[in-house]
């Protein structure tokens, strides 16, 4: 980890956003997203860099990032599966999917709260992409096709 620099594209985006928001502080979430999209997680060095750009203490970024569930502080190489555990999905047997996914060790499984697909439950998001109206068979094929993920 030799350091982290924001790409030119990102810096341009930051400049653009800076004009939109009344205060620099508001860019916290966009910047965190940039870092996470870039690295896949929030690295300490990147956060220190972000704190320089926004002129905010690093502690602020940790505090904010840890509040939101979608930010990650550790890098994961595995396929990231977010299985919705909310009521509509549970009523449509998401537990069954969970039992199945638990047995697979090639994925990083997280049970998350409602992803807004109650009308097409059960569902899960794989690497952020929604897969709806699932059953074990369908899930198996999706996970089997590594390249499509």
């Amino acid at each position: 980890m030799s350091g982290y620099t924001f790409s030119a594209e990102n810096l341009k985006e930051i400049d653009k956003l800076l004009k939109r928001y009344p205060s620099k502080e508001a860019l916290t979430l966009p910047i965190l997203w940039m870092v996470q999209n870039d690295l896949g997680y929030l690295s300490n060095i990147a956060l220190r860099e972000a704190s320089k750009i926004l002129d905010m203490p690093t502690s602020h970024f940790y505090s904010v990032a840890s509040f939101y569930t979608m930010f990650k502080f550790k890098k994961s190489e595995k396929v990231f599966v977010e299985l919705c555990k909310s009521l509509s999905c549970e009523l449509n047997n998401s537990d069954e999917l969970y039992e199945y996914l638990k047995t697979r060790d090639d994925i990083e499984l997280v049970r998350v709260e409602c992803l807004g697909s109650c009308g097409s439950s059960p569902m899960c998001a794989i690497n952020g992409k929604y897969h709806e109206n699932l059953n074990i068979k369908k899930l198996d094929t999706i996970l089997g096709d590594k390249d499509a993920l």
Binding site: N44, P57, T58, S59, H60, Y62, S63, S66, F67, Y68
Partner: protein, 493 residues
Amino acid sequence: MVTIYVNNKPIICKDKELLIKVLKENDIFIPHFCYHESLGADGNCRMCLVEIEGSKRPQIACDTFVYDGLRVHTKSESILETNKDILELELLSHPVDCPTCDQAGECSLQNYYMEYGLYDSRVSVAKNKKDKALDLGSNIMLDQERCVLCMRCVRFCSDITKTDELVVMGRGNDSYITTTPFMRLSNPYAMNVIDLCPVGALTSKDFRFKQRVWFLDSTQSICHACSKNCSIFIDHNAQKNQNDHVHRFRPRVNTMVNGHFICDEGRLSYKKANETRKNDFIMKSRISTYESILKHTKKLLQSENAIALVSASLSVEQMLLVKELSEMYLFDVYYDYKEDEKFGDDFLKSSIKESNLYTAKLLDFKLVDKPYEESLISKSLILNFNSEFISKPRPIEMIEFLTHEGKFERSSSIFTYEYFHNDMGLLINSDGVISSYKKSSKVKSEKFTLLKILNDLLDESYTNESIYEKYKELFFKNIPYSKIMKQSQRLGL
């Protein structure tokens, strides 16, 4: 000014004042964790709920501003019930490890439990596990399980010191306080979070497990670590069959001087109070008696040509008596002081380390520079009043008045007198505020005070009050002694 009614009793207060502040100022019991006079309200603990007539739900006192005719109830049945329930929730994730917790005895949770609780625990679910005994740096230990997430410490680091070392991580029930990753608490005021923490989450590593607080007696005093003269409490006690021991300094609220805080260096300067001299009276490296050394000194003062050097940390009264002595025996009084630019800042630390320099200047003592060295040539006796800057160019008679071990133990006669923690007096800080420090009534003092020794040398019987009153018109703008004893007074620069 408006009138509000608390539990049907009228209270007169400023308009638009925070209700909790008014309640606290009027000594009405109002439980709270997140509100603190120096940090304001955060509204997260919900302990300070009060019933306000005309409002459907209980309101938090730390977000209610008073207006004329406001009617508040803090003791109605429903409020007591509510407070009890919220306290139960505060305790839900609390490990209740009071036996091992240093805060026990001065813990808000305990106090409120005594006030509202006294019930048996209904909790049958497993408690949240978090980290215990984390060393955050700056002598601070964190126990996340005990934390009630009032955020006082976080707000202190972000609002007061602006160093932002502390941060709350996570969300909801799993949130916890910690230092920012790869950072340690390192600001010079960090230990104030120990006092701010209403529970035992942040405790002092220095005081850790040393003593239970209910054994401690608190004495109102003044920190002598620099010329800021922060008001402090000295927490000390004498265990059975042992001598009195100072365990810690705590900041004492004094809006004129230090507000609610003191710096870490001042806080840890209590150690000096435990390192005072053992042997009381020394004459030429032999243990002697007070009477004989007194006689010896008087004889020398009458016959020899003397010069005196005072520490600029002596109290006002002590300096006044030195002045009396110098007028009686006609000798010059010098002082010196140390300036540490690195130490000072614009908050509670002053670069001048001597706590009463102001008075030394006020009394026209001479600053040590070349003339002192030169004037020594014709002198045959040095009186040293606890000064560190003493030098002794040639074999010369020397009488020392010391609180701690001195440089010239072997060749001088030494009176040992009580260090400030067991004495009383007045100090004037670098901003010209005169404050008093008091003597604990519980400590049995074995040593003499400097005042007593000087009185004996003068054959007078001044008390702290009488010597001050004698000179108050001349130097101290006629401020009466009793007024200073109650509250610090501004003399002005």
